[in-house]
Symmetry: C2
Amino acid sequence: MFRRSGANSNNVLRNNPAMEWTVTPIGIVSASRAHPEDDNWGAEESSIVLADGLPDEALDGIDTFSHVEILFVLHDAAAAQIVTGARHPRNNVAWPKVGIFAQRGKNRPNRIGSTICRVVRRDARRLDVAELDAIDGTPVLDIKPVMQEFLPREPVSQPQWSHELMAAYWQRRHPTNR
Amino acid sequence: MFRRSGANSNNVLRNNPAMEWTVTPIGIVSASRAHPEDDNWGAEESSIVLADGLPDEALDGIDTFSHVEILFVLHDAAAAQIVTGARHPRNNVAWPKVGIFAQRGKNRPNRIGSTICRVVRRDARRLDVAELDAIDGTPVLDIKPVMQEFLPREPVSQPQWSHELMAAYWQRRHPTNR
């Protein structure tokens, strides 16, 4: 499901930054949201259904973990919108201009999203999760179990703007807005 | 830096599980380990140097975060070794056979690794991190800042085998083993 399109050694890789890798979705997201939204992902439930080439048993044991990390393609981000330098997060000038790798916005090189979700249930080749911030039809590249040992082992610190940006992210959407 | 190789709508995607996406490294890891090892990644320091096509400012502000999440290609995993079903983690029969998406081993579809690391310092187009479990020459696909709000918002639970597997992972390597 993965192949290296370029040459082979580490040195060749270092000398060839244009090298490409090919990835294939391992599943697709079914979700209630058809279009991206900045906030209010709290309590949203969605499903990931495995791609045809994979056996059901690829998910065996996944529900012995409380959380999974989903890697997915931010496929609604337009190629022309990709930022490679710095910008104000969400284009909000009240927040400092920072590099694309110092923010989590979708218009980023390679357009890969990564979100830790709660496991709700697994049924054969379907995994239901809570609070995956991906829209309907999103291609999934990987599912990884969350292990406490892979979470930060020291206190986490972050700038004030990022707390402000996240303030409403996990709030539930008011029912009348649906 | 990213293009969709297939067709365009969500429905087409659902009907075309063989669809491919192309990704390009945004940087390369410089590390002391040339070959993968299962354990003892504690206190290891490595550097990520941005690919030529990216400006230094892509990293602006990254050092206002204590931790970053690094997405990288597990490029030493051989295509022939990729597991799509279930196996015993590390092929240890003392642990249950679980699906590839219920473990974090490298021989997985799409071979993408994801690790949260401590930010050590940023110098122009170089980011030094602690405890990135990637070998020298690893292609990096993304760098994301760790925000508390994206970490699990409920207690994390996981099976006993995963604690056993991780027991020595972040232990420091004994100096005489170097």
